[in-house]
């Protein structure tokens, strides 16, 4: 009995001998699984997991602005009553911050059209690694374009797909949609006006008056650029908006985004 068992074990060992074809087969299966994992990472992990991470980082950033602001003085508002009786508060011309340093977080953007809880941190420069691919930012400010609230063009960029799918819904914007920018100074409300499908080399959309060379701006614009179509990069979308109003942090956030400010 003892001998038989040993014999069986011996033949078993021979069967288990590694064959070249077997190893190649296992390597191919492994490669297939890796490719599937990569696709899953690209489509699901990047959009859902990183998007949520960037969202909560933006919530933290907006809370930081609120915490810093409690120390700074607040401007006195001038309440005005329109002929129809609606009260509006005019805070005067919007404050404009100095250009921040490279990859410095200086604002949070809220676009309700992109989702009720959608928000992202904006950093200086459109550097791919430090800003656009960052797990806690996602939106970059074109260095050299204006800051929020300034006369001229405040231009920002983000990925449409990948690394948080930040601007994937830019093409869904409708005329009049609000784009809120929160900084350490206050909330700036822009309204979406129009968009253009452009080539990747159309830097004219970054001009002080978008698409108009050497024009002296008298209005305050915002420009969002991203790739088009999704998962490809042959084209760009540029979405333009105009400034509507601003309010200091002490006045509280605009109603539409009140639930999102400071929420992770």
């Amino acid at each position: 009995m003892h001998a038989r068992r040993r014999a069986a074990g011996g033949s078993g060992a021979r069967r288990r001998k590694v064959s070249v074809v077997g190893v190649i087969g296992e390597l191919l299966v492994t490669a297939g699984v890796l490719v599937l994992l990569f696709l899953g990472w690209q489509t699901w992990w990047q959009s859902a997991v990183l998007g949520a991470q960037q969202n909560s980082a933006a919530g933290q950033q907006s809370q930081d602005f609120l915490d810093q602001a409690s120390a700074s003085p607040t401007p006195t508002p001038t309440p005005t009553v329109a002929p129809d009786g609606t009260k509006t508060v005019d805070y005067g011309p919007p404050p404009v911050m100095k250009a921040p340093g490279f990859a410095e977080s200086f604002a949070v953007i809220y676009v309700p059209r992109f989702g009720a809880d959608w928000k992202r941190t904006i950093r200086e420069s459109v550097d791919v690694e430090a800003v656009l691919n960052s797990y806690d930012a996602g939106v970059g400010h074109y260095t050299g374009t204006q800051m929020p609230g300034a006369v001229g063009n405040f231009a920002i960029a983000a990925h449409d797909t990948g690394y948080g799918n930040t601007f994937i819904d830019v093409s869904k914007l409708q005329v009049g949609d609000a784009i809120y920018i929160q900084t350490k100074d206050g909330y700036y409300t822009y309204r979406f006006r129009n968009m253009e499908y452009i080539s990747p080399s159309t830097v004219q959309v970054l001009y002080d008056v978008p698409q108009v060379k050497d024009a002296k701006a008298t209005d305050r614009y915002i420009t969002l650029t991203t790739c088009n179509p999704p998962y490809h990069a042959q084209e760009r979308i540029a979405a333009f908006g105009v400034f509507e109003s601003w309010q200091p942090l002490s006045a509280g956030p605009p109603k539409e985004i009140a639930a999102e400010v400071g929420s992770n």
Binding site: E26, F38, N133, H159, G162, L206, Y231, H232
Partner: protein
């Protein structure tokens, strides 16, 4: 290949399965943190979304 890995692992079946799960998690972590971003940058499937000359 995987058969050899199974035989090399020590201990009873449950321990071997546990070790394999930990190994798989490690491999997955390395893939997501380093390998996939690197492959992605080679593929350039998503360019920056910026305009530039």
């Amino acid at each position: 290949m995987y058969g050899a890995l199974w035989r090399v692992l020590p201990g009873p079946v449950w321990l071997r399965i546990l070790i394999l799960i930990v190994l798989a998690a490690l491999v997955l972590y390395c893939l997501v943190t380093w390998v996939f971003p690197w492959v992605d940058s080679l593929l350039q499937s998503n360019e920056e979304g910026t305009v530039a000359v």
